[in-house]
């Protein structure tokens, strides 16, 4: 027992420990560096429209006309902002009740069928690539809308429908988790008082899970807001504020997707697109912030 166990010369295990520490730390450092450089580069590019090209910020945000090739070029991003917000919010308006009903169905009405069949299928839906959604939207929804409603079928409505199917899995999964994690006593107490299932759902279940449901909806909107190709394929891509839901318009993402390849790096036309990307990024921060707030509230 006299042998010392503590302070000894460096041993192989110390080097090994060091390797592990350094390796994992470098990985996380890489991740952090990537994110910060991403924010930095997009921000500096996006801001140069206003700083170098002297485009008026207020005019950029409220301007109704986007015509980069006219003389002088006009950069009014409001049509894109309206396009992005209206499609993604409308998509959430469609998907949220559907997702909530699906979650109630899977947890309260037919849990076995829900877990075995419905949940896997919905998860599968989450894995379908967005271009495929765009393709289906273009070949099914757009012609359908063209037949039923006035116009070409393309526009906010088509975009919102495609997006609503895309974000349905997000909303459903989060709602299902929230409903499944409710303490059993809560529901049983309500049943014991003679309440019906529906009364229990809208008086007890809905209010208690509200923050989680909202989290799901915000995450859904965030995903819809950032989606590029599926929307671009069905929205029509004309840079105007539409007068109806079935008229061609654009979103932030679709404008970037279409024009980024056709502009010269460093030109004012190009920088304006980066400003749109910066707007997208800022909205991402806003969404993450809202989700955090909601999560904090649901913990209380």
């Amino acid at each position: 027992m006299a042998q010392s166990v503590g302070k000894q010369q460096p041993k192989p295990h110390l080097r090994e420990e060091w390797v592990g520490r350094v390796y994992t730390f470098l990985c996380i450092l890489f991740l952090l560096l990537t994110i910060f450089s991403m924010v930095y580069f997009v921000a500096s590019k996006g801001l140069s429209t206003f700083i170098i090209n002297k485009v008026n910020l207020a005019g950029f945000l409220t301007g109704l006309k986007w015509s980069p090739d006219s003389e002088p070029p006009l950069f009014g991003a409001l049509p894109f902002l309206i396009g992005s917000f209206s499609t993604s919010i409308l998509a959430a308006v469609i998907a949220a009740p559907l997702g909530f009903c699906a979650a109630v169905f899977m947890t309260q009405i037919m849990p076995k069928f829900g877990r075995k069949i419905m949940q896997p299928v919905i998860e599968l839906l989450a894995g379908i690539p967005s271009v495929v959604y765009g393709f289906v939207g273009l070949s099914v929804i757009v012609p359908l809308f063209r037949d039923i409603f006035p116009g070409q079928g393309i526009g906010i409505a088509a975009g919102a429908v495609v997006l609503s199917i895309m974000i349905l899995p997000t909303i459903t999964t989060i709602a299902t988790d929230a409903l499944a994690s409710l303490p059993a006593g809560l529901k049983e107490g309500s049943y014991a008082l003679g309440a019906t299932r529906w009364q229990t759902i809208y008086r007890i279940v809905l209010p208690t899970t509200m923050p989680a449901l909202l989290t799901g909806i915000v995450l859904g909107i965030a995903r819809a807001f950032g989606e590029a190709l599926a929307v671009q394929m069905v929205i029509g891509n004309s840079p105007h504020i539409p007068r109806s839901l079935f008229e061609s318009t654009s979103t932030l993402t679709s404008a970037i997707t279409l024009s980024m390849g056709n502009t010269v790096m460093g030109s004012i036309q190009n920088n304006a697109l980066w400003s749109l990307a910066l707007l997208l990024m800022i909205m991402t921060f806003v969404f993450v912030f809202i989700v955090r707030m909601l999560e904090r509230r649901s913990k209380l």
């Binding site: 027992m1 006299a2 042998q3 010392s4 166990v5 503590g6 302070k7 000894q8 041993k11 295990h13 110390l14 420990e17």
Partner: protein, 252 residues
């Protein structure tokens, strides 16, 4: 007077503001079994886990005081805990064999500590399994998964695993509480056998077990040692009312 294998001096453990162990000083003799008993939440497991610095893993846990092994305080930031833990074996409440073969479970430690020779490793595996009274049951299926063994066998394997790296101290945290009576009896026999070579500290809920296998017993309550004496004395003639109340089953 026997050699001291391990000695704690004014040891306290805090979780945040709360003190789980308060100012405990205990000497553990070499080649002897010391039992730590007491009601749930009295700090006996926390105390045990401090002895091989396992509490380092728990965020917010703070261990103060000295732990002496062979003239060195191992509760210091300079201590190389990896080397320290090679000297101290540990057995948990629930058997936790690695998800590997029986052979690998035992050879893993020694190989890591530098023994590469296949023959030498075979020898260590056999010896350790024999010591743990598991050799006869497992010698034909050394390369099967350890998870296929019964709970009692798994626990003996865990003991074999810890003695394979040649520790001098073995800490046991209720090693038989998850086992059936037959397996428990085997584990107790094994402990009695192992005490010839090791300093063993065992936490147990079962007072009969403490009486059967230990030479010394410390009674913990609310994070403090109420009484520490020869096991015979604690069980036949306790000095404190709380000890006798606990032993006679008035609480706990």
């Amino acid at each position: 007077m026997q050699d001291i294998g391990l000695s704690a001096h004014k040891l306290s453990v805090h979780y945040g503001e709360k003190a789980a162990v308060k100012n405990v000083s205990l000497d553990f003799a070499d080649r002897q079994v010391t039992a730590l008993i007491g009601p749930s939440g009295c700090g006996k497991s926390t105390f045990l886990r401090s002895l091989n610095r396992m509490n380092d893993l728990i965020p917010g846990a703070r261990v103060t005081g000295d732990i002496w092994i062979g003239g060195e305080n191992i509760n210091s930031p300079q201590t190389d805990v990896v080397l320290l833990r090679q000297k101290i074996g540990m057995v948990w409440q629930r058997p936790n064999p690695f998800h590997k073969s029986i052979y690998e479970n035992i050879a893993f430690g020694p190989r890591y500590h530098g023994i590469r020779d296949k023959k030498k490793l075979d020898e260590i595996v056999e010896q350790s399994l024999r010591r743990a009274a598991l050799w006869e049951e497992t010698k034909d299926r050394l390369h099967n998964s350890a998870l296929a063994l019964s709970g009692g066998q798994q626990q003996r394997l865990c003991i074999a695993r810890s003695i394979a790296v040649k520790p001098s101290i073995i800490l046991m945290d209720e090693p038989a509480s998850a086992l059936d009576p037959v397996s428990t009896a085997k584990i107790e026999e094994l402990i009695a056998e192992l005490k010839q070579d090791y300093c063993i500290v065992i936490v147990t809920h079962n007072m009969y077990q403490a009486a059967r296998i230990s030479q010394k017993t410390a009674f913990f309550m609310l994070g403090e040692v109420e009484e520490y004496d020869d096991t015979d004395k604690i069980f036949t003639n306790p000095q404190k009312i709380s000890t006798s109340d606990y032993i006679t089953g008035r609480f706990g």
